[in-house]
């Protein structure tokens, strides 16, 4: 019996581990390392209505236990994604979560409508939180009313469940979560990156051409855990958690906080095998900790509950 299978709106997952959007392209590169069917799901790179080049380089900088990125949503546009990337991915037995981005409400609605029809797209991830895009992007993720409206509009056109990706760059994350719940979201993914910056010692100027970038990696994990802990108690939507995950232990910590599945981003760059390694390590870790199924871990940090199996034994 599997300890790892999970069901979420639109998603029947073999296991709750998936690569995070923007950190896995459309899967081709990582398919050289392992069979993508091993993954719980794949969150593909953001799709916009039109092709986008993104920001000038340098686009990444390193920080202590983290990195900054300012890719700027480079992508070939939804048409090409639907015609080329998704069909290629359909050779694998793995559900796709399509990350949807845009600069205007109309953009989001257009992309959501088109991409949600693709046969292997089982859910959308509404990216209202990309900190690297000038035009509007971030406002969707920081003003509750705007986020709610956008969610509602996208829900109206989407053929599949809609997960909304929250930005951590807000005073009150719970308010944002409640807003997207009220807008009809089927789930929440969190967190996107924290806005950060690094300066070059020699020139004094930002290392990133875009000046600021999104902070990801182990450095942000405590912020992600705190926010998931807060949000999971305030809304009744399932949460796909992310932010600095690099081991099976981290996955359990995200579940304890309140996640029902997780995504791994930056760690893919460090270790291309990180997702299958974590998937492989989880059953033994669950065994050690005394859980029969990973779902028993969700929300243990705040739920009143019985002791795990091994305490009972």
């Amino acid at each position: 019996m599997s300890r790892l299978n999970i069901e979420l709106p639109g998603l029947k997952l073999k296991n709750p581990v998936m690569p995070a959007s923007g950190c896995f392209g459309f899967g081709k590169e990582y398919s050289q390392f392992y069979d993508l069917s091993e993954l719980g799901a794949i969150m593909i790179k953001a799709a916009t209505a039109e092709p986008r080049f993104g920001n000038p380089t340098p686009r990444v900088a390193e920080t202590s236990s983290g990195m900054l990125n300012a890719i700027g949503l480079q992508n070939p546009g939804m048409k090409k994604i639907i015609e080329q990337e998704l069909p290629w991915l359909s050779q694998y037995d793995v559900p796709i979560i399509a990350n949807v981005a845009g600069s205007t409400e109309e953009d989001y609605v257009k992309v959501a409508k088109e991409i949600s029809i693709a046969p292997n797209v089982h859910a959308l991830e509404l990216n209202i939180s990309c900190p690297n895009v000038k035009t509007g992007g971030i406002a969707f993720g920081t003003i509750p009313e705007v986020a709610k409206e956008l969610t509602r509009k996208v829900k109206q056109v989407s053929e599949v469940p809609v997960y909304v990706k929250l930005s951590p760059n807000v005073t009150n994350i719970v308010e944002m979560a409640k807003a997207v719940e009220a807008g009809g979201a089927d789930g929440i993914t969190m967190i996107n990156t924290l806005v950060g910056m690094r300066l070059d010692l020699r020139t004094g100027k930002p290392i990133l051409a875009n000046r600021t970038g999104g902070l990801s990696g182990p450095a942000v994990k405590p912020v992600a855990i705190r926010m998931i802990y807060e949000v999971s108690q305030a809304v009744s939507l399932p949460i796909i958690g992310m932010g600095g995950i690099q081991s099976a232990e981290d996955v359990i910590e995200f579940f304890y906080a309140g996640a029902s599945a997780v995504a791994v981003g930056t760690a893919n760059f460090v270790d291309p095998f990180i997702c299958p390694t974590i998937i492989n390590d989880l059953p033994e870790l669950l065994e050690q900790l005394g859980y029969e199924h990973i779902s028993e871990c969700t929300g243990r940090s705040w739920k009143k509950h019985e002791s795990p199996a091994y305490h009972r034994a």
Binding site: M67, V270, P272
Partner: protein
Amino acid sequence: MMKKEICKILSRTEIAADIYELIVQAELVREITAPGQFVHIRVSNHWDPLLRRPISISSYNPISKQMTLIYRKDGKGTQMLSEMRAGMELDILGPLGNGFPVDEVSAGETAVLVGGGIGVPPLYELSKQLTAKGVKVIHVLGFQTVAAVFYEQQFEKYGKTFIATVDGTYGTKGFVTDVLKNIQFDCLYACGPVPMLRALQQGYPDQKVFLSLEERMGCGIGACFACVCKEKDDPSGTSYKKVCTDGPVFRAGEVLI
């Protein structure tokens, strides 16, 4: 096929001021297809420093499965790399990217290899391979100062070698471009800082020129879009090349630098 492999360090030597030569034994050496490819190195088992460091393959031998990497100790990652010792293990991803096209010159023709600073290392294997097929090779290598000069003798074995130093403490005072003025060639291969590459691209618009670019990288394998550059003459403005997988070597004029 690229591999992720825990490799064994055979030796590590400081060959110039803050310049280290690392000889590594690895199965992945057999996968190397051209000089100018690179590897992506995890400098610690921990998650800080987080990112891998891209380093060119300076030379390799598929039979002994050994490769040589040459790097400058600079920031946190290369600092840690410089503390490694023979016998230690190193997590390497590679070989990555497309190297220098050796076929672009024929036996009897002349190739000039232009390197600047830590752009010099990948030219060494290139020189070996060109010489082996009968190409006449000339090296023009630029460094900041005499203390930074390395591999002069090694290059000399394969062809005439000119050194330029910015401060004039060794060889010609000035830049590689100053030396190049007096050299005729059929094909030029270069690796080094962007201003140097740009000067070469502009200086020889009608000749065969191949440039190895550098860009900050995330994944090193084409997934993260950190390392893109624009294609030249692209009306849509959205076409691009990735330095990690389409490069690092490009034909001059192929991409904007």
